[in-house]
Protein backbone atom coordinates (compact mmCIF):
# COMPACT_ATOMS: atom_id res chain seq x y z
CA UNK A 1 0.00 0.00 0.00
CA UNK A 2 2.99 2.33 0.13
CA UNK A 3 4.36 4.26 -2.76
CA UNK A 4 8.05 4.45 -3.51
CA UNK A 5 7.56 7.16 -6.10
CA UNK A 6 9.67 10.21 -5.89
CA UNK A 7 7.44 13.19 -6.61
CA UNK A 8 8.28 16.74 -7.52
CA UNK A 9 7.26 19.01 -4.64
CA UNK A 10 5.78 21.69 -6.87
CA UNK A 11 2.14 20.96 -7.67
CA UNK A 12 2.27 22.60 -11.04
CA UNK A 13 0.54 19.95 -13.13
CA UNK A 14 -2.95 21.23 -12.40
CA UNK A 15 -1.93 24.81 -13.14
CA UNK A 16 -3.70 26.08 -10.00
CA UNK A 17 -2.24 29.13 -8.30
CA UNK A 18 -2.52 27.77 -4.76
CA UNK A 19 -1.08 30.88 -3.09
CA UNK A 20 -3.75 33.00 -4.75
CA UNK A 21 -6.51 30.53 -3.89
CA UNK A 22 -5.41 30.51 -0.25
CA UNK A 23 -5.97 34.26 -0.05
CA UNK A 24 -9.69 33.64 -0.61
CA UNK A 25 -10.00 31.61 2.61
CA UNK A 26 -9.86 33.81 5.73
CA UNK A 27 -9.41 30.77 8.03
CA UNK A 28 -6.12 29.84 6.42
CA UNK A 29 -4.40 32.91 7.79
CA UNK A 30 -5.19 31.96 11.40
CA UNK A 31 -3.11 30.15 13.93
CA UNK A 32 -4.26 27.19 16.00
CA UNK A 33 -2.64 26.37 19.36
CA UNK A 34 -0.21 29.16 18.54
CA UNK A 35 0.99 27.46 15.35
CA UNK A 36 0.18 28.29 11.70
CA UNK A 37 -3.12 26.58 10.93
CA UNK A 38 -2.87 23.53 8.66
CA UNK A 39 -6.31 22.27 7.66
CA UNK A 40 -6.46 18.64 6.57
CA UNK A 41 -10.00 17.78 7.65
CA UNK A 42 -11.77 18.60 4.41
CA UNK A 43 -13.57 15.26 4.41
CA UNK A 44 -15.48 16.56 7.45
CA UNK A 45 -16.12 20.05 6.08
CA UNK A 46 -14.33 22.47 3.82
CA UNK A 47 -13.29 26.01 4.68
CA UNK A 48 -15.31 28.80 3.09
CA UNK A 49 -14.00 31.39 0.66
CA UNK A 50 -14.75 35.08 1.20
CA UNK A 51 -17.04 35.02 -1.87
CA UNK A 52 -19.39 32.54 -0.15
CA UNK A 53 -19.34 34.30 3.22
CA UNK A 54 -20.02 37.65 1.57
CA UNK A 55 -22.92 36.30 -0.48
CA UNK A 56 -24.69 35.26 2.71
CA UNK A 57 -23.94 38.58 4.39
CA UNK A 58 -25.32 40.40 1.32
CA UNK A 59 -28.58 38.47 1.58
CA UNK A 60 -28.94 39.22 5.29
CA UNK A 61 -27.90 42.86 5.01
CA UNK A 62 -29.32 43.95 1.69
CA UNK A 63 -32.42 42.00 0.64
CA UNK A 64 -33.43 39.72 3.51
CA UNK A 65 -36.95 38.46 2.85
CA UNK A 66 -38.78 35.18 2.52
CA UNK A 67 -39.14 33.63 -0.93
CA UNK A 68 -42.17 32.71 -3.05
CA UNK A 69 -44.41 34.77 -0.76
CA UNK A 70 -43.81 38.51 -0.71
CA UNK A 71 -45.17 40.94 -3.25
CA UNK A 72 -42.42 43.47 -2.57
CA UNK A 73 -39.07 44.06 -4.26
CA UNK A 74 -36.76 42.43 -1.73
CA UNK A 75 -38.81 39.24 -1.69
CA UNK A 76 -38.66 39.21 -5.48
CA UNK A 77 -34.87 39.58 -5.39
CA UNK A 78 -34.52 36.84 -2.76
CA UNK A 79 -36.78 34.54 -4.81
CA UNK A 80 -34.81 35.20 -7.98
CA UNK A 81 -31.49 34.58 -6.25
CA UNK A 82 -32.80 31.39 -4.67
CA UNK A 83 -34.24 30.01 -7.89
CA UNK A 84 -31.13 30.95 -9.88
CA UNK A 85 -29.04 28.74 -7.60
CA UNK A 86 -31.18 25.77 -8.57
CA UNK A 87 -30.22 26.41 -12.20
CA UNK A 88 -26.56 26.82 -11.27
CA UNK A 89 -26.57 23.53 -9.35
CA UNK A 90 -28.42 21.77 -12.17
CA UNK A 91 -25.74 22.90 -14.63
CA UNK A 92 -22.98 22.02 -12.16
CA UNK A 93 -24.11 18.38 -12.06
CA UNK A 94 -25.41 18.14 -15.63
CA UNK A 95 -29.07 17.72 -14.64
CA UNK A 96 -31.44 18.13 -17.59
CA UNK A 97 -34.05 20.16 -15.63
CA UNK A 98 -33.78 22.58 -12.70
CA UNK A 99 -36.79 20.83 -11.16
CA UNK A 100 -34.77 17.67 -10.62
CA UNK A 101 -32.65 19.47 -8.03
CA UNK A 102 -34.10 19.44 -4.52
CA UNK A 103 -32.54 21.39 -1.69
CA UNK A 104 -32.07 19.53 1.58
CA UNK A 105 -30.03 20.07 4.73
CA UNK A 106 -27.23 17.86 3.46
CA UNK A 107 -26.35 14.43 2.15
CA UNK A 108 -27.85 12.67 5.16
CA UNK A 109 -31.21 14.32 4.64
CA UNK A 110 -31.03 13.66 0.89
CA UNK A 111 -30.61 9.92 1.50
CA UNK A 112 -33.41 10.01 4.07
CA UNK A 113 -35.77 11.82 1.66
CA UNK A 114 -35.29 8.94 -0.78
CA UNK A 115 -35.60 6.28 1.91
CA UNK A 116 -38.85 7.74 3.25
CA UNK A 117 -40.33 8.93 -0.03
CA UNK A 118 -39.31 6.12 -2.40
CA UNK A 119 -38.00 3.31 -0.21
CA UNK A 120 -40.96 2.95 2.13
CA UNK A 121 -43.27 2.84 -0.86
CA UNK A 122 -41.29 0.42 -3.00
CA UNK A 123 -39.28 -1.87 -0.71
CA UNK A 124 -41.16 -4.79 0.84
CA UNK A 125 -40.71 -8.02 2.72
CA UNK A 126 -38.00 -10.28 1.33
CA UNK A 127 -36.56 -7.54 -0.92
CA UNK A 128 -32.86 -6.78 -1.02
CA UNK A 129 -31.20 -3.38 -0.61
CA UNK A 130 -27.72 -3.57 -2.12
CA UNK A 131 -25.15 -1.36 -0.39
CA UNK A 132 -21.48 -1.82 0.55
CA UNK A 133 -19.26 -2.11 3.58
CA UNK A 134 -17.42 1.09 2.70
CA UNK A 135 -20.49 3.33 3.10
CA UNK A 136 -20.72 6.27 5.48
CA UNK A 137 -23.34 5.66 8.18
CA UNK A 138 -25.67 8.09 6.36
CA UNK A 139 -25.93 5.67 3.45
CA UNK A 140 -25.84 2.58 5.67
CA UNK A 141 -27.94 3.04 8.78
CA UNK A 142 -30.72 4.67 6.75
CA UNK A 143 -31.13 1.54 4.59
CA UNK A 144 -30.54 -0.80 7.52
CA UNK A 145 -33.49 0.79 9.33
CA UNK A 146 -35.72 0.54 6.25
CA UNK A 147 -34.77 -3.14 5.92
CA UNK A 148 -35.72 -3.71 9.55
CA UNK A 149 -39.01 -1.91 9.15
CA UNK A 150 -40.01 -3.77 5.98
CA UNK A 151 -38.53 -7.20 6.63
CA UNK A 152 -36.15 -6.61 3.73
CA UNK A 153 -32.44 -7.41 3.95
CA UNK A 154 -29.14 -5.68 3.26
CA UNK A 155 -26.67 -7.27 0.89
CA UNK A 156 -23.23 -5.98 0.03
CA UNK A 157 -21.15 -5.35 -3.06
CA UNK A 158 -18.08 -7.48 -2.22
CA UNK A 159 -15.14 -5.44 -0.89
CA UNK A 160 -11.50 -6.52 -0.96
CA UNK A 161 -9.32 -6.20 2.16
CA UNK A 162 -8.05 -2.80 0.94
CA UNK A 163 -11.62 -1.44 0.77
CA UNK A 164 -11.92 -1.52 -3.03
CA UNK A 165 -14.77 -3.34 -4.76
CA UNK A 166 -14.60 -6.68 -6.50
CA UNK A 167 -17.15 -6.21 -9.26
CA UNK A 168 -16.46 -9.55 -10.99
CA UNK A 169 -19.65 -11.10 -9.60
CA UNK A 170 -21.76 -7.94 -9.76
CA UNK A 171 -24.20 -9.18 -12.38
CA UNK A 172 -25.00 -12.31 -10.37
CA UNK A 173 -25.94 -10.21 -7.32
CA UNK A 174 -29.05 -9.15 -9.21
CA UNK A 175 -30.37 -12.71 -9.15
CA UNK A 176 -31.48 -11.65 -5.68
CA UNK A 177 -34.64 -9.52 -5.48
CA UNK A 178 -32.69 -6.22 -5.38
CA UNK A 179 -34.96 -3.17 -5.15
CA UNK A 180 -32.36 -0.40 -4.98
CA UNK A 181 -28.58 0.02 -4.96
CA UNK A 182 -27.15 2.73 -2.68
CA UNK A 183 -23.43 3.26 -3.06
CA UNK A 184 -20.75 5.86 -2.49
CA UNK A 185 -18.85 7.51 -5.34
CA UNK A 186 -15.87 8.12 -3.02
CA UNK A 187 -15.10 6.57 0.33
CA UNK A 188 -14.82 9.11 3.14
CA UNK A 189 -12.22 6.87 4.79
CA UNK A 190 -9.87 5.87 1.96
CA UNK A 191 -10.79 8.20 -0.89
CA UNK A 192 -11.42 5.12 -3.05
CA UNK A 193 -13.61 5.91 -6.05
CA UNK A 194 -15.53 2.83 -7.18
CA UNK A 195 -16.45 2.29 -10.80
CA UNK A 196 -19.91 3.79 -10.32
CA UNK A 197 -20.72 3.77 -14.01
CA UNK A 198 -20.38 -0.03 -14.23
CA UNK A 199 -22.52 -0.45 -11.11
CA UNK A 200 -25.23 1.81 -12.54
CA UNK A 201 -25.22 0.17 -15.98
CA UNK A 202 -25.38 -3.31 -14.46
CA UNK A 203 -28.21 -2.36 -12.08
CA UNK A 204 -30.16 -0.75 -14.90
CA UNK A 205 -29.90 -3.91 -17.04
CA UNK A 206 -31.88 -5.48 -14.21
CA UNK A 207 -34.23 -2.47 -13.90
CA UNK A 208 -32.87 -1.57 -10.48
CA UNK A 209 -32.38 2.12 -9.59
CA UNK A 210 -29.13 3.43 -8.09
CA UNK A 211 -28.59 6.13 -5.46
CA UNK A 212 -25.11 7.63 -5.46
CA UNK A 213 -23.70 9.16 -2.28
CA UNK A 214 -21.49 11.89 -3.70
CA UNK A 215 -20.83 13.71 -0.40
CA UNK A 216 -17.06 13.31 -0.88
CA UNK A 217 -16.97 13.04 -4.67
CA UNK A 218 -18.96 16.07 -5.80
CA UNK A 219 -16.72 18.62 -4.07
CA UNK A 220 -13.61 17.42 -5.91
CA UNK A 221 -14.71 16.17 -9.31
CA UNK A 222 -16.82 17.03 -12.31
CA UNK A 223 -20.19 15.32 -11.99
CA UNK A 224 -22.57 14.68 -14.84
CA UNK A 225 -25.73 12.89 -13.74
CA UNK A 226 -27.00 12.57 -17.31
CA UNK A 227 -23.85 10.72 -18.42
CA UNK A 228 -23.72 8.69 -15.22
CA UNK A 229 -27.41 7.93 -15.63
CA UNK A 230 -27.81 7.59 -11.85
CA UNK A 231 -31.30 7.69 -10.37
CA UNK A 232 -30.40 9.74 -7.31
CA UNK A 233 -27.32 11.74 -6.39
CA UNK A 234 -26.81 13.19 -2.91
CA UNK A 235 -24.25 15.76 -1.75
CA UNK A 236 -23.66 18.50 0.81
CA UNK A 237 -22.84 22.17 0.35
CA UNK A 238 -20.51 22.46 3.30
CA UNK A 239 -17.94 20.03 1.91
CA UNK A 240 -17.66 22.07 -1.31
CA UNK A 241 -16.85 25.54 0.03
CA UNK A 242 -20.53 26.23 0.76
CA UNK A 243 -22.37 26.87 4.03
CA UNK A 244 -23.42 24.21 6.52
CA UNK A 245 -27.05 23.13 6.57
CA UNK A 246 -27.57 22.99 2.82
CA UNK A 247 -27.42 19.99 0.54
CA UNK A 248 -28.77 18.63 -2.69
CA UNK A 249 -30.81 15.68 -3.81
CA UNK A 250 -30.81 15.14 -7.54
CA UNK A 251 -33.45 12.70 -8.71
CA UNK A 252 -34.26 11.37 -12.16
CA UNK A 253 -37.71 12.55 -13.15
CA UNK A 254 -39.16 9.02 -13.25
CA UNK A 255 -37.99 8.44 -9.66
CA UNK A 256 -39.17 11.78 -8.27
CA UNK A 257 -42.56 11.20 -9.86
CA UNK A 258 -42.84 7.97 -7.90
CA UNK A 259 -41.90 9.56 -4.58
CA UNK A 260 -44.04 10.78 -1.72
CA UNK A 261 -43.07 14.01 0.05
CA UNK A 262 -41.24 13.36 3.26
CA UNK A 263 -42.31 16.60 4.89
CA UNK A 264 -45.59 18.43 4.60
CA UNK A 265 -46.44 22.07 5.25
CA UNK A 266 -46.28 25.48 3.62
CA UNK A 267 -44.71 26.31 0.26
CA UNK A 268 -45.32 22.81 -1.09
CA UNK A 269 -49.09 22.92 -1.56
CA UNK A 270 -51.31 24.31 -4.31
CA UNK A 271 -54.64 24.06 -2.55
CA UNK A 272 -55.65 22.93 0.92
CA UNK A 273 -59.25 21.81 1.40
CA UNK A 274 -60.83 20.64 4.63
CA UNK A 275 -59.74 17.01 4.29
CA UNK A 276 -57.38 16.92 1.30
CA UNK A 277 -54.53 18.91 -0.27
CA UNK A 278 -52.92 19.05 -3.67
CA UNK A 279 -49.18 19.49 -3.93
CA UNK A 280 -46.96 21.63 -6.10
CA UNK A 281 -44.97 20.00 -8.88
CA UNK A 282 -41.25 19.27 -8.69
CA UNK A 283 -39.18 20.39 -6.92
CA UNK A 284 -41.22 22.45 -4.44
CA UNK A 285 -43.27 19.38 -3.51
CA UNK A 286 -40.20 18.19 -1.61
CA UNK A 287 -39.31 21.50 0.03
CA UNK A 288 -41.90 22.16 2.73
CA UNK A 289 -41.49 25.20 4.92
CA UNK A 290 -39.19 28.19 4.64
CA UNK A 291 -35.95 26.79 3.24
CA UNK A 292 -32.40 27.68 4.16
CA UNK A 293 -32.40 30.72 1.87
CA UNK A 294 -29.04 32.11 2.95
CA UNK A 295 -27.57 28.61 2.68
CA UNK A 296 -28.87 28.19 -0.87
CA UNK A 297 -27.46 31.58 -1.86
CA UNK A 298 -24.12 30.62 -0.30
CA UNK A 299 -24.19 27.31 -2.15
CA UNK A 300 -24.70 29.20 -5.40
CA UNK A 301 -21.62 31.31 -4.64
CA UNK A 302 -19.66 28.12 -3.84
CA UNK A 303 -20.65 26.51 -7.15
CA UNK A 304 -19.58 29.66 -9.03
CA UNK A 305 -16.33 29.76 -7.11
CA UNK A 306 -15.48 26.12 -7.87
CA UNK A 307 -16.47 26.45 -11.51
CA UNK A 308 -14.25 29.53 -11.79
CA UNK A 309 -11.32 27.39 -10.71
CA UNK A 310 -12.33 24.26 -12.60
CA UNK A 311 -13.32 20.90 -11.13
CA UNK A 312 -10.91 18.96 -13.32
CA UNK A 313 -8.00 21.12 -12.17
CA UNK A 314 -9.03 20.57 -8.55
CA UNK A 315 -9.16 16.80 -9.03
CA UNK A 316 -5.76 16.83 -10.70
CA UNK A 317 -4.24 18.96 -7.95
CA UNK A 318 -5.51 16.53 -5.31
CA UNK A 319 -4.28 13.53 -7.29
CA UNK A 320 -0.82 15.11 -7.12
CA UNK A 321 -1.18 15.74 -3.38
CA UNK A 322 -2.20 12.16 -2.57
CA UNK A 323 0.70 10.87 -4.67
CA UNK A 324 3.09 13.14 -2.77
CA UNK A 325 1.54 12.10 0.56
CA UNK A 326 1.91 8.39 -0.17
CA UNK A 327 5.53 8.90 -1.22
CA UNK A 328 6.25 10.72 2.06
CA UNK A 329 4.42 7.99 3.98
CA UNK A 330 6.87 5.45 2.60
CA UNK A 331 9.55 7.13 4.76
CA UNK A 332 7.71 5.88 7.85
CA UNK A 333 8.13 2.10 8.14
CA UNK A 334 5.74 1.97 11.12
CA UNK A 335 2.95 3.75 9.22
CA UNK A 336 0.12 1.61 7.87
CA UNK A 337 -2.08 3.33 5.31
CA UNK A 338 -5.51 2.09 4.26
CA UNK A 339 -7.04 2.01 0.83
CA UNK A 340 -6.08 0.73 -2.61
CA UNK A 341 -2.44 1.15 -3.64
CA UNK A 342 -3.54 2.33 -7.10
CA UNK A 343 -3.52 6.16 -6.87
CA UNK A 344 -5.70 6.50 -9.93
CA UNK A 345 -8.72 5.08 -8.10
CA UNK A 346 -8.31 7.48 -5.16
CA UNK A 347 -9.22 11.02 -4.24
CA UNK A 348 -7.33 13.20 -1.77
CA UNK A 349 -7.91 11.21 1.40
CA UNK A 350 -5.12 9.58 3.39
CA UNK A 351 -6.12 7.26 6.25
CA UNK A 352 -3.44 5.70 8.38
CA UNK A 353 -2.22 4.52 11.75
CA UNK A 354 1.24 5.04 13.21
CA UNK A 355 2.61 1.97 14.98
CA UNK A 356 0.33 1.00 17.83
CA UNK A 357 -0.43 4.61 18.80
CA UNK A 358 -4.19 5.21 19.06
CA UNK A 359 -5.51 7.57 16.39
CA UNK A 360 -6.87 9.91 19.04
CA UNK A 361 -3.36 10.40 20.46
CA UNK A 362 -1.96 11.09 17.00
CA UNK A 363 -4.73 13.62 16.34
CA UNK A 364 -4.22 15.27 19.71
CA UNK A 365 -0.49 15.76 19.15
CA UNK A 366 -1.07 17.02 15.59
CA UNK A 367 -3.61 19.49 17.01
CA UNK A 368 -0.92 20.88 19.29
CA UNK A 369 1.25 21.35 16.21
CA UNK A 370 -1.51 23.32 14.47
CA UNK A 371 -2.54 20.47 12.17
CA UNK A 372 -6.27 19.59 11.99
CA UNK A 373 -7.08 15.98 11.07
CA UNK A 374 -9.93 13.63 11.88
CA UNK A 375 -9.47 10.59 14.11
CA UNK A 376 -11.64 7.63 15.01
CA UNK A 377 -14.00 5.67 12.81
CA UNK A 378 -15.23 8.54 10.61
CA UNK A 379 -18.93 7.57 10.79
CA UNK A 380 -18.00 4.38 8.93
CA UNK A 381 -17.77 1.49 11.36
CA UNK A 382 -18.38 -1.26 8.76
CA UNK A 383 -15.17 -0.37 6.86
CA UNK A 384 -13.26 -0.28 10.17
CA UNK A 385 -14.38 -3.87 10.73
CA UNK A 386 -13.13 -4.70 7.24
CA UNK A 387 -9.72 -3.23 8.12
CA UNK A 388 -9.80 -4.77 11.61
CA UNK A 389 -9.00 -1.50 13.37
CA UNK A 390 -11.03 0.62 15.81
CA UNK A 391 -10.11 3.82 13.98
CA UNK A 392 -7.65 5.65 11.79
CA UNK A 393 -6.14 9.10 11.44
CA UNK A 394 -7.51 10.78 8.34
CA UNK A 395 -5.90 13.65 6.46
CA UNK A 396 -8.20 14.89 3.72
CA UNK A 397 -7.20 17.50 1.18
CA UNK A 398 -8.75 20.23 -0.89
CA UNK A 399 -7.89 22.81 -3.48
CA UNK A 400 -6.10 25.14 -1.05
CA UNK A 401 -3.78 22.50 0.42
CA UNK A 402 -0.23 22.24 -0.81
CA UNK A 403 2.77 20.04 -0.20
CA UNK A 404 3.84 22.30 2.69
CA UNK A 405 0.68 21.20 4.52
CA UNK A 406 1.62 17.58 3.92
CA UNK A 407 5.14 18.23 5.15
CA UNK A 408 3.68 19.77 8.34
CA UNK A 409 1.60 16.62 8.81
CA UNK A 410 4.69 14.44 8.64
CA UNK A 411 6.63 16.78 10.93
CA UNK A 412 3.79 16.29 13.40
CA UNK A 413 4.08 12.53 12.99
CA UNK A 414 7.77 12.75 13.87
CA UNK A 415 6.67 14.46 17.07
CA UNK A 416 4.20 11.64 17.80
CA UNK A 417 7.00 9.12 17.44
CA UNK A 418 9.22 11.18 19.70
CA UNK A 419 6.61 11.14 22.46
CA UNK A 420 5.56 7.50 22.18
CA UNK A 421 8.98 5.97 21.51
CA UNK A 422 10.77 7.65 24.38
Amino acid sequence: MRSSLSVDKTPSRSGLDIAKIREDFPNLGKSMRGKPFVYLDNGATSLKPRQVIESEIRYYEEYCANIHRGVYEFSEIATEEYDSVRSKVARFIGAPEDGHVIFTRGTTESVNVVMHGWGRKNVGEGDVILISEIEHHANYVTWQQLAQEKGARLEFIPARPDGSFDLSGLDALFEMPVKIVAVTAMSNVTGYKPDIKTIIDTAHRHDVPVLVDAAQYASHHTVNVAELDCDFLCFSGHKMCGPTGIGVLYGHERMLADMDPYMYGGDMVVRVKRDTSTFKPLPERFEAGTPNIAGVIGLGAAVEYLQGIGMDAIAEHEAHLIEYTLSRAAEFPDLVSYGPADHSTRGGIFSFNLGDVHSHDVGSILDQEGVAVRTGFHCAQPIMRLFGVPGTVRASMYLYNDTDDIDMLFEGLDKVRGIFNR
Partner: protein, 143 residues
Protein backbone atom coordinates in the same frame (compact mmCIF):
# COMPACT_ATOMS: atom_id res chain seq x y z
CA UNK B 1 3.19 23.51 31.10
CA UNK B 2 3.40 22.14 27.58
CA UNK B 3 0.96 19.54 26.33
CA UNK B 4 3.72 16.94 26.49
CA UNK B 5 3.91 17.57 30.23
CA UNK B 6 0.14 17.71 30.69
CA UNK B 7 -1.00 14.82 28.52
CA UNK B 8 2.03 12.70 27.80
CA UNK B 9 4.03 12.82 31.00
CA UNK B 10 5.92 9.70 32.02
CA UNK B 11 3.42 8.53 34.68
CA UNK B 12 0.57 8.62 32.16
CA UNK B 13 2.54 6.77 29.50
CA UNK B 14 3.66 4.16 32.06
CA UNK B 15 0.08 3.54 33.10
CA UNK B 16 -0.99 3.40 29.46
CA UNK B 17 1.63 0.74 28.69
CA UNK B 18 1.17 -1.27 31.88
CA UNK B 19 -0.26 -4.74 31.34
CA UNK B 20 -0.69 -5.41 35.06
CA UNK B 21 -4.43 -4.81 35.17
CA UNK B 22 -5.27 -5.70 31.60
CA UNK B 23 -7.41 -8.67 30.58
CA UNK B 24 -10.72 -10.23 31.48
CA UNK B 25 -11.42 -12.09 34.75
CA UNK B 26 -13.31 -15.35 34.27
CA UNK B 27 -16.14 -15.56 36.75
CA UNK B 28 -15.82 -11.92 37.84
CA UNK B 29 -18.36 -10.82 40.45
CA UNK B 30 -19.01 -7.57 38.60
CA UNK B 31 -18.69 -6.57 34.98
CA UNK B 32 -19.52 -3.35 33.17
CA UNK B 33 -19.01 -1.89 29.70
CA UNK B 34 -18.43 1.70 28.66
CA UNK B 35 -17.83 3.46 25.37
CA UNK B 36 -17.17 6.91 23.96
CA UNK B 37 -18.85 6.59 20.56
CA UNK B 38 -17.29 9.73 19.15
CA UNK B 39 -13.72 8.52 19.50
CA UNK B 40 -14.11 4.75 19.51
CA UNK B 41 -12.93 4.15 23.08
CA UNK B 42 -14.50 0.93 24.28
CA UNK B 43 -13.77 -0.64 27.66
CA UNK B 44 -14.92 -3.47 29.87
CA UNK B 45 -14.26 -3.64 33.59
CA UNK B 46 -14.05 -6.79 35.73
CA UNK B 47 -14.14 -6.93 39.54
CA UNK B 48 -13.85 -9.70 42.07
CA UNK B 49 -14.94 -8.95 45.61
CA UNK B 50 -14.06 -10.76 48.83
CA UNK B 51 -15.45 -9.86 52.24
CA UNK B 52 -16.71 -6.52 50.98
CA UNK B 53 -13.33 -5.53 49.54
CA UNK B 54 -12.35 -5.26 45.85
CA UNK B 55 -9.88 -8.09 45.57
CA UNK B 56 -8.94 -7.72 41.94
CA UNK B 57 -9.96 -5.29 39.22
CA UNK B 58 -9.01 -5.36 35.53
CA UNK B 59 -9.95 -3.71 32.27
CA UNK B 60 -9.99 -4.80 28.69
CA UNK B 61 -10.66 -2.95 25.47
CA UNK B 62 -9.47 -0.30 23.11
CA UNK B 63 -8.70 3.28 23.92
CA UNK B 64 -6.23 6.10 23.52
CA UNK B 65 -3.35 6.57 25.95
CA UNK B 66 -5.37 8.87 28.24
CA UNK B 67 -8.30 6.44 28.33
CA UNK B 68 -6.11 3.40 29.07
CA UNK B 69 -3.99 5.28 31.60
CA UNK B 70 -7.21 6.37 33.33
CA UNK B 71 -8.43 2.77 33.39
CA UNK B 72 -5.15 1.40 34.74
CA UNK B 73 -4.99 4.07 37.46
CA UNK B 74 -8.57 3.23 38.39
CA UNK B 75 -7.74 -0.46 38.80
CA UNK B 76 -4.60 0.36 40.79
CA UNK B 77 -6.36 2.72 43.15
CA UNK B 78 -9.53 0.70 43.83
CA UNK B 79 -7.90 -2.67 44.41
CA UNK B 80 -8.02 -3.50 48.12
CA UNK B 81 -10.74 -0.92 48.87
CA UNK B 82 -14.24 -1.25 50.20
CA UNK B 83 -17.05 -0.04 47.95
CA UNK B 84 -17.58 2.96 50.24
CA UNK B 85 -13.95 4.01 49.97
CA UNK B 86 -13.98 3.27 46.24
CA UNK B 87 -16.94 5.65 45.81
CA UNK B 88 -15.01 8.38 47.63
CA UNK B 89 -11.94 7.95 45.43
CA UNK B 90 -14.06 8.03 42.26
CA UNK B 91 -15.85 11.17 43.45
CA UNK B 92 -12.55 12.86 44.26
CA UNK B 93 -11.02 11.94 40.90
CA UNK B 94 -14.05 13.20 38.98
CA UNK B 95 -14.09 16.33 41.14
CA UNK B 96 -10.47 16.99 40.15
CA UNK B 97 -11.28 16.82 36.42
CA UNK B 98 -14.81 18.21 36.28
CA UNK B 99 -14.86 20.76 39.08
CA UNK B 100 -12.40 23.08 40.69
CA UNK B 101 -11.45 20.61 43.43
CA UNK B 102 -7.77 20.45 44.31
CA UNK B 103 -6.74 16.81 44.54
CA UNK B 104 -5.59 15.45 47.88
CA UNK B 105 -5.12 11.72 47.40
CA UNK B 106 -3.34 9.58 49.98
CA UNK B 107 0.31 8.84 49.15
CA UNK B 108 -0.38 5.34 47.90
CA UNK B 109 -2.59 6.64 45.09
CA UNK B 110 -1.06 10.07 44.55
CA UNK B 111 -0.24 9.06 40.95
CA UNK B 112 -3.87 9.96 40.24
CA UNK B 113 -2.84 13.61 40.45
CA UNK B 114 -0.78 13.10 37.27
CA UNK B 115 -4.07 13.21 35.37
CA UNK B 116 -4.88 16.73 36.55
CA UNK B 117 -3.27 18.27 33.45
CA UNK B 118 -5.89 16.60 31.25
CA UNK B 119 -8.34 19.16 32.57
CA UNK B 120 -6.84 21.77 30.24
CA UNK B 121 -7.90 19.68 27.22
CA UNK B 122 -11.70 19.43 27.37
CA UNK B 123 -12.01 16.84 24.57
CA UNK B 124 -9.71 14.48 26.45
CA UNK B 125 -11.53 14.63 29.81
CA UNK B 126 -14.07 12.08 28.61
CA UNK B 127 -11.19 9.78 27.66
CA UNK B 128 -9.68 10.03 31.14
CA UNK B 129 -13.06 9.45 32.78
CA UNK B 130 -14.42 6.59 30.68
CA UNK B 131 -13.39 3.82 33.08
CA UNK B 132 -14.31 5.96 36.09
CA UNK B 133 -17.81 6.65 34.80
CA UNK B 134 -18.18 2.99 33.94
CA UNK B 135 -17.23 1.77 37.41
CA UNK B 136 -19.82 4.06 38.94
CA UNK B 137 -22.47 1.85 37.37
CA UNK B 138 -21.14 -1.04 39.46
CA UNK B 139 -20.49 0.87 42.67
CA UNK B 140 -23.84 2.68 42.69
CA UNK B 141 -25.88 -0.44 42.00
CA UNK B 142 -24.10 -2.72 44.49
CA UNK B 143 -25.42 -3.27 47.96
Amino acid sequence: MSYEEDLYKEIILENYRSKKNKGAIDGADFHAEGANPSCGDDLELFLTVKAGVIERMTYEGIGCSICCAGANLLCESLTGRSFDRAREIVAQFKGMLLEEQEPDFEDEISDLEAMQGVKKYPVRIKCALLAWNTVEGILNNAE
